[in-house]
Every structure is written in structure tokens, then in C-alpha cells.
């Protein structure tokens, strides 16, 4: 079930109510039942995959613990532990590769064979990608690595561990939690904390605002333009691409925020997954602020094991490229995602390579790196660089992405920014204005974040009548202005396909 569905709005309060009614010791069992029910609403049969991943990684943890405590020789211990990790990774990634990449691999294999003159009838497998498999697989594997590295002890309670893998607020689209943070919170059976629940509710409201007021509204425009990019060339595509940057941010950030809010109401803290990424002053900084849980996963479980920046400059660049190419592939089984990831990697490599040049330029031209203008220049520059890569992310194929880039520069039509043309791309003037206003609200919120201003805290400190009125009005206006319901097609979260 989607977060922005009547089903969830009925499901969640019931889960919370029962959670706080049942004895503390068994609350995690109730959450486990609710989480599996949540997943089964997507697909009953793919619950088996979730169970498989849970079982394999649980056993890997138990095995690793046993090996650690055994009296066998150190070298053998290390070999056995590595074997255990390899087994866990192999089985889980094997499942992931099969469901996510099998069709992609076969398609490319057949393309290569065709290119060399071997023509074979290609069978159609049409394997359906289980929702959230990329997320829960990575979360489960991070546990294996954490036990391997002795960051945590293996969890002996299978049910508690199963809840860690399947915890419903973050099951299908993250954030990808670390066992160190989440596991210990799950068995506690928290007392109801009103302040935490209130904060959680505000987070959920903010998440719904981003998702159904901003992201789903922008989607109407972007889908129209990208869906017919031959007609909507030039500045239509430029505007749509810039708006897509906001759409994907709000879609994903919105989901993560709803997940965080829902968890907080249950007394559980999830990690912050975004930190005003479009205010980053470099692509490297952007990736420290965007999808933080995934970036840090790749950093800890791929970049560092590859050697990180400890094996020389060239090796550092290579490791960066590997991480971003894999990250691209993680996002989707398509060359356009690989190009997207690759571009982000290239940006960072070039940034490192050109650093001495930039430093020289700053010195020669006496530029002040702390000046607002300088920061603004970097922020806008970073946004444009990142936004260009979103073309490859949004397009349905590499060919389409190239076509879009061509179409963007082939047509010269800046006048559409001044006349009514933009109001004929799915959003009328009023909806377009609401979208712009909502984006301004988002920008203000992110600026506050960069300055350490906690808006929720400010609201909390106001008079009771203001707080309650603010919440009631916000909820009502989100429902009024949101894109949902029978009047629209249900728009799923973008990241569910991963």
C-alpha cells in the first residue's frame, strides 16, 4: 500500500493504537506482523523473498558470531568469516541480480550476439521486480558486514531481526538503516512519548506536503513534456528537467520523511536521509547530502573495502567511478542509469583533478570563498551539473535521454517563459502557481535547515491555539491542494521501482 492511500491512513492509526496497547515485551512482534502485512499488500508471494533474505542474513550473523567465539586458528577464522560473508552476499545479491538485472543482462547479451551476426530468438522472461528488494537486501547485507566487522553482536532473536529487515515505514524505499541504530530500538517497546509523536506527526505532514502537493503536481508537467519531447523542445525540456530535480527530491525526501515521522510516532528514530542537497556547493557535497543512507552504505561497504583513498590517487578515482557506476545500476537496470551514475562519478573525479586549478584561480582573482556570491555561484553550478544528469535518470532509455538532450538544444524558444505556453503542459495557471509557491516553501525550509533553524521546534514553542490551528489548517490544505484521489491517477513514489 502507498503512504498516500486511504488504506495506509486506516492501517497506520490501527497499528499505532494496538502497538501501545499490547505489553511492551511483545510490541515488536505486533510490528513484525504489521510489517509483513504491509508488504503482502504489494505481493503475497514475494514475501518469501523477504523471508529468504532475512533468513540468510540472520544465519550469517549467527554463524559469524559462532566463528568469532570458536577456538579455531585466527587465519582459519578469518577465512571462514569471509566465506560466511561471501555466502550471504552471494545468495542475496544473486536473488537481487536475478529479479532486477536478468532481463537487462539477457537483452544486452542478445544485442551483442546480434551485433556479431548471431541471431537467436530471444525468449521473453518479463521478470517482475519485487517492490523494495534493493532496499531490504542492502539493509540485510549491512547487518552481515556489521557483525563481520564486530560493530555489533549477532541478533539471536529471529523475530526481532526479521522486524529489522522488514520494518514497514522504511521497507520499500528506505532510508536504509544500520543495524547499530535500528536493531537496538526495536526490542525496547517504548513508552508513548507525546512530544516525539507530535514531532513525528509534523514530519508526516511535511512529507505528505512534499509528495502530494509538490512532487505529484510537478509530475503532471514533467510527464507531459518528457512524454512528447519532440513537440516540447528547447526551454520546455529545460524547465521540465529543472522541475524534475525538485520532483525527485520531494518524492523521495517526502517518502523518507513520512517514514521517519511514522517511526517517531512508534518511538523509533530513523536516520535523516536528505540534508538540503540542492544547497551543496560541489557534487561531492551533494552526495553527502542526498540519499545519505545509500551513499553511506556504498561508502562503508564498497568504497572502503575497495581501498577508498588509501591506495593512491588513481585508485581513488577508480574506486569512485566503480561506486557511482554500481550506484547507477542499483537505481535501475538500464544503461541510462549507468550513464547517470557515471556522470556523477566523472564530475567528482574532475573536481579532484581540477582542484589545484580552482585554487589557483581563487588566488589570482582574489576571490572570497566565504562570500555569498561565491557560494551562490557554486550552489547554482552544482545544481545545473546534477540536474543535467537527471535527464538520464528520468528518460526511459539511453536513446531517449540523448534525444532529449538534442531536443533541448535544437530548439530556441525562450519566449515560452514569458507567455502562457507553460500553462498548457498539463498544469493550468493556478496549479502552476501553487507549484511555484510550494517550491518556495520548500526552499525556505531547506535554507532554515542549512542555518540550523528547526522549524518544528519553532512551531512547538508557539501558543497552543496556534499549534493546533496550524496543524489542522496544514492537513486540510494538503488534502485540498494535493494530487490524489479519483480525480487523478494514483502516482506512485519514484523510488519504488528500485
Amino acid at each position: 500500500m502507498l503512504f498516500n492511500s486511504a488504506q495506509f491512513l486506516l492501517f497506520f492509526p490501527i497499528v499505532v493504537l494496538i502497538y501501545y496497547i499490547v505489553p511492551k515485551k511483545v510490541r515488536y512482534i505486533w510490528l513484525l506482523i504489521a510489517s509483513y502485512y504491509f508488504y503482502m499488500c504489494w505481493s503475497v508471494k514475494y514475501v518469501l523473498l523477504l523471508l529468504f533474505s532475512t533468513g540468510v542474513t540472520y544465519l550469517s550473523g549467527i554463524l559469524l558470531e559462532k566463528i568469532k567465539q570458536s577456538k579455531i586458528k585466527k587465519n582459519k577464522k578469518i577465512r571462514l568469516k569471509k566465506l560466511c560473508v561471501a555466502g550471504s552476499f552471494g545468495l542475496n545479491l544473486g536473488v537481487l541480480v536475478y529479479f532486477k538485472y536478468f532481463d537487462f543482462i539477457i537483452d544486452n547479451l542478445y544485442s551483442v550476439l546480434e551485433a556479431v551476426g548471431i541471431v537467436i530468438v530471444q525468449p521473453q522472461f518479463n521478470i517482475i521486480l519485487p517492490v523494495g528488494i534493493s532496499f531490504y537486501t542492502f539493509q540485510a547485507l549491512s547487518y552481515t558486514m556489521d557483525v563481520y566487522r564486530n560493530d555489533i553482536y549477532a541478533e539471536k532473536n529471529f523475530l526481532k531481526y526479521a522486524l529489522f529487515v522488514s520494518f514497514f515505514p522504511q521497507l520499500v524505499a528506505g532510508p536504509i538503516e544500520r543495524s547499530k541504530n535500528l536493531l537496538k530500538q526495536l526490542g525496547k517497546g517504548n513508552q508513548f512519548d507525546f512530544e516525539m509523536a507530535w514531532d513525528g506527526f509534523l514530519l508526516m505532514l511535511w512529507g505528505f506536503f512534499m509528495k502530494i502537493v509538490i512532487a505529484d503536481r510537478i509530475a503532471i508537467f514533467v510527464d507531459r513534456v518528457y512524454g512528447d519531447y519532440h513537440t516540447y523542445g528547447g526551454w520546455y525540456l529545460i524547465v521540465a528537467t529543472m522541475l524534475f530535480a525538485v520532483q525527485i527530491y520531494c518524492d523521495f525526501y517526502g517518502y523518507s520523511t513520512i517514514a521517519r515521522g511514522a517511526s517517531k510516532i512508534l518511538g523509533i528514530e530513523l536516520m535523516e536521509n536528505f540534508n538540503a542537497p540542492y544547497f551543496a556547493q560541489s557534487v561531492a557535497e551533494f552526495w553527502r547530502k542526498w540519499h545519505i543512507s545509500l551513499s553511506s552504505w556504498f561508502r562503508d561497504y564498497l568504497y572502503f573495502p575497495l581501498g577508498g583513498n588509501r591506495k593512491g590517487t588513481l585508485r581513488k578515482y577508480l574506486n569512485l567511478m566503480i561506486v557511482f557506476l554500481v550506484s547507477g545500476l542499483w537505481h535501475g537496470a538500464s544503461w541510462s542509469f549507468v550513464v547517470w551514475g557515471g556522470l556523477n562519478g566523472i564530475y567528482q573525479v574532475f573536481a579532484y583533478v581540477l582542484r589545484p586549478v580552482r585554487d589557483k584561480l581563487v588566488k589570482v582573482f582574489c576571490l572570497d570563498r566565504e562570500a555569498l556570491s561565491h557560494k551562490l555561484f557554486h550552489i547554482i553550478g552544482t545544481f545545473l551539473l546534477v540536474d543535467f544528469t537527471w535527464i538520464f535518470f528520468r528518460a526511459s532509455s539511453l536513446k531517449e535521454a540523448v534525444g532529449i538532450v538534442r531536443s533541448m538544444f535544437a530548439v530556441h524558444n525562450p519566449q515560452i517563459l514569458l507567455d502562457d505556453s507553460l500553462y498548457h503542459c498539463g498544469l493550468d495557471r493556478k496549479n502552476f502557481d501553487v507549484m511555484l509557491f510550494a517550491i518556495v516553501v520548500l526552499v525556505v525550509a531547506d535554507i532554515c535547515k542549512t542555518r540550523g533553524i528547526k522549524i518544528r521546534e519553532i512551531i512547538r514553542r508557539q501558543e497552543w491555539w496556534f499549534r493546533y490551528l496550524f496543524v489542522a489548517l496544514s492537513a486540510a490544505f494538503i488534502l485540498l491542494l494535493g494530487i490524489w484521489g479519483a480525480g487523478y491517477d494514483a502516482t506512485s513514489f519514484i523510488y519504488f521501482q528500485f
Partner: protein, 458 residues
């Protein structure tokens, strides 16, 4: 319980109440007002509604309850709706029983051969909103939605129409902030004229197969009989093809089976298809007037319904009639085509003076039939030159004058002089008056444009 817990619970309650309050206002604001506009007076009625008219748009455009009250003392409401199938009518009736105790239910049997509970296309879902949205939330409403939309996943938009209409926030008009209600007790008027060609002559009467609509018609009758409510079946007239003659025949058989009276208007000589049709499926205002009178007389003669005029507050009744007349006046004034205007005059509440400037033209064209429909004798219209006809609404008698009217005559007939700019190409001029109040309703001239049509000029 701790003080802080009480405080927090109170705060949550206040927030919920505020939210519910704001949402209630918003829900009302953004909902489409069509259903409210048509049906709200039913809920606001201070008199018991003794007769419910159920059916499709055939009923909506052919039965005028205010005139039933004014002329016969019968309180009625028109529940006819666009594409309403029998199942929808059944549930509208069941829900209406929560608010009134009717003595008689009149059901029109058009679309008896339809095998669905409602029209299952985009328009149908929209029409269903018209039929459902006005009904206050209740167990019967939930049953209605669950039954009609049995296999559909769109139930929630009818139980909570905000889910459908919340995106109307950018289309709000004054009517959304200050919604108006119909003055016609659910009826609507068509003014267009359509003359069917080659009417089907159906001699063989045969029935239709059993359908969902037949089932629900039986349920309507059984429900009424269970509650000692009289039932009258009708098949309202229109240029019917063979299929609809079969429906009418089946309706008669069902009436026979349940021992309820039935009027098959396809076999009655109440309307004239040459002047009384809006299209090949609906009657226009002229046809509706005739049907209303016929039904009013029939009900008054066959059912002993109380005369509600006697118990109603006089001021309330007067206001109701005035609102109705105002509506009819506005509708008449909105007609820019002569034929529509002539249809609008087929109302015995209007008296009018016609100044036919080009009598020869009138006699050669379709307007001749429409004038005849108003009780104007074609032979009495001059072959050439001007004819002035005074028609009294109450008596429907026409008095004829010929040639140009002098000032004295104009004063006597209380009609103003024709202005110079109107004289050019003037075809016909009307001065219309309300019988009861004597108020001037309209003064309008129609000129010839091209060879066939005439248009209004101000």
C-alpha cells in the same frame, strides 16, 4: 491520569475538531453543486412531499412539480436524472423515504431493457454523482453505493465526494460560496424543437427479456406496496423506436402483474411530436407542460391526496411561486432563437401580444406549427402585412388585429411602440406578461437573418 496526559489528549481532540470543522467547510465548498442545486429543496420542504417522480431525464424534463402544487394542490418532487437506471431510482426512493412519507410514487419505465445498475462510462459516473451527492450520509446511502458500484473500485468517491472534487479548488465560482437551489422542485426545461421524421409505426407488441432494470422496477413496486404507498407506472412519450415500444409493453405487463395502474404515453395522444420534442429522446417545455397537466389531472382524479395549498403558509407558497416564475422569466429571456422562444411561451401563466410583421413569411415556415401550438389559428393570420395576436394565458383565447397599431390601440393593449431600429427586417415582436401579477416579463423583437432563422435583438 497525569495532568500532562490530559492536556495532550485535550490538545489532540481540539486539533481533530478544528480539522473536522475546516474540512467540513472545504468539502462543501469544492463539491459540485449540481446535485445540491436540484435536490436540496426536497430536504428543506416544510410540507410533506406526497408524490415522488422517479426515472431518467425523461421525467426530469417532462414533469413540473411546482405547477402540480399550484394547479392541483399536489406536493411532488422530480427525482428524474440523466441516464438514471431503475436501480439508481430504487435507491433514490429508499433514501427519500428517510425524509418524507409519500402517498404515491410515479415511476417512468424508460430504459427497462438496460441490464446495468447505472451507466458505466465516464458520463455515467458523473451522472451518478448528480444522483447521489445530495443524499446525506446514512446507512441507506452506504447500501446504495455498495449495491450500485458492486464491482467498481470507485465507491469511496461517492461516500466521500471530496476525494473526487477536491481538485475543483481552482474552479470555484460564486455559486460555490453561495450555492443556489432550484426553483423547479427538481425539474428542468428544454426549449429546443426537433421534428422527427419517419416515426416508427409499431404494430406488434412484444416484451423484453428479464433485465437488472426489470428486477429493480419490481423491487420498487414491492417496497412501495410493503409501505402502503400507491404506485403509478408511466412510459413518457418520445419518438420511440421498436425497442422502446417493447419496453413500454413490458412495463404494462409488470403493472398488470402487480395490479398497479399504468399510463403508456406512447399510445396516448397527449403531445404533438411536431412541436413538443427537444430531440428524438426528450420532450421540450411545451411537451412537458402537456404531460404535467395530464398527470396532474390524472392524479387528482384517481388519488385522494390532500390539497397542501390549504395547509401551507401563504407567504411561503407565494415566495415559491414567485421564484418559479422568476426562473421561467429568466429562461424565456435567455432564448435567442425564435423557435425556442415560441416553445417557452407555451405556458398558461403567460399572456402575450404577438406583432407579426411579415405574416407571409411566418405562414411559409416551421414557426407556423409552433404558433398553432400556442393556440393561434393559422387561418386567422393575414396572408400579407401585419397581424397582431393577443393571447390570454388563462383562457388561451386569441384576439386578432390587422395592420399597424395606432397609439390608442397600443395603450389599450399596453404594448410599447416599435423603435425605428427594430423595424428593419422585423419578423415578429413579443410583449409577455405574467397572468397573476400583471408584471411585464419580456419585450423582444426577432428579425430575419438569412432566409430561415430569426434572432433576438435587444
Amino acid at each position: 491520569m497525569k495532568k500532562s496526559t490530559v492536556k495532550h489528549l485535550a490538545g489532540a481532540l481540539v486539533t481533530i475538531l478544528l480539522f473536522v470543522g475546516i474540512m467540513s467547510y472545504m468539502m462543501q465548498l469544492v463539491s459540485r453543486k449540481d446535485s445540491y442545486h436540484k435536490y436540496q429543496p426536497f430536504y428543506d420542504s416544510q410540507l410533506n412531499i406526497d408524490v415522488l417522480f422517479l426515472g431518467s431525464s425523461h421525467v426530469r424534463y417532462s414533469v413540473y412539480p411546482v405547477e402540480l402544487l399550484q394547479d392541483y394542490g399536489i406536493t411532488a418532487y422530480n427525482f428524474g436524472g440523466h441516464s438514471n437506471r431503475m436501480a439508481t431510482s430504487y435507491w433514490m426512493m429508499v433514501n427519500a423515504f428517510d425524509y418524507t412519507n409519500p402517498k404515491l410514487v410515479v415511476i417512468d419505465c424508460f430504459m427497462l431493457s438496460e441490464n446495468t445498475k447505472f451507466r458505466e462510462d465516464n458520463n455515467g459516473y458523473s451522472y451518478l454523482h448528480d444522483a447521489v451527492d445530495h443524499i446525506p450520509f446514512s446507512v441507506n446511502k452506504v447500501k446504495m453505493i455498495w449495491d450500485l458500484l458492486e464491482s467498481s473500485n470507485r465507491k469511496w468517491e461517492y461516500l466521500w465526494s471530496f476525494s473526487q472534487f477536491h481538485n475543483r479548488w481552482n474552479q470555484l465560482e460564486q455559486n460555490d460560496f453561495e450555492p443556489t437551489v432550484t426553483a423547479t422542485e427538481g425539474a428542468s426545461f428544454y426549449y429546443e424543437v426537433y421534428t422527427p421524421h419517419d416515426l416508427d409505426v409499431v404494430t406488434e407488441r412484444k416484451g423484453i427479456q428479464n433485465t437488472v432494470s426489470v428486477d429493480y422496477l419490481c423491487r420498487i413496486i414491492e417496497e412501495c406496496q410493503k409501505q402502503d404507498i400507491e404506485v403509478l407506472l408511466t412510459y413518457l412519450p418520445f419518438p420511440a423506436t421498436e425497442k422502446y415500444w417493447d419496453e413500454a409493453y413490458t412495463a404494462g405487463k409488470i403493472a398488470e402483474k402487480y395490479g398497479v395502474p399504468y399510463i403508456n404515453y406512447l399510445e396516448e395522444d397527449v403531445v404533438d411530436y411536431a412541436t413538443d420534442c427537444k430531440d428524438n429522446n426528450h420532450l421540450n417545455y411545451s411537451g412537458g407542460q402537456k404531460i404535467t397537466k395530464h398527470l396532474g389531472t390524472y392524479i387528482a382524479e384517481h388519488y385522494h391526496l390532500p390539497d397542501r395549498r390549504k395547509e401551507a403558509d401563504e407567504d411561503v407558497l407565494a415566495a415559491k411561486y414567485q421564484a418559479y416564475m422568476d426562473y421561467k422569466r429568466d429562461m424565456l429571456q435567455a432564448q435567442d432563437e425564435l423557435e425556442c422562444y415560441l416553445v417557452g411561451l407555451s405556458d398558461d401563466r403567460f399572456s402575450f401580444v404577438l406583432e407579426v410583421e411579415d405574416s407571409a413569411y411566418i405562414k411559409k415556415t416551421k414557426y407556423k406549427m409552433l404558433l398553432q401550438n400556442l393556440g393561434i389559428d393559422q387561418d386567422a393570420i393575414a396572408e400579407e402585412g401585419a397581424t397582431i395576436v393577443c393571447v390570454s394565458g388563462e383562457t388561451q383565447e386569441a384576439v386578432y388585429y390587422y395592420g399597424a397599431l395606432n397609439e390608442k390601440m397600443r395603450r389599450k393593449l399596453d404594448i410599447s411602440d416599435i423603435e425605428q431600429k427594430e423595424k428593419e427586417n422585423l419578423l415578429i415582436r413579443f410583449t409577455v406578461t405574467d397572468n397573476q401579477s400583471g408584471e411585464r416579463i419580456d419585450e423582444v423583437s426577432f428579425v430575419k437573418c438569412g432566409t430561415v432563422e430569426a434572432n433576438r435583438i435587444e
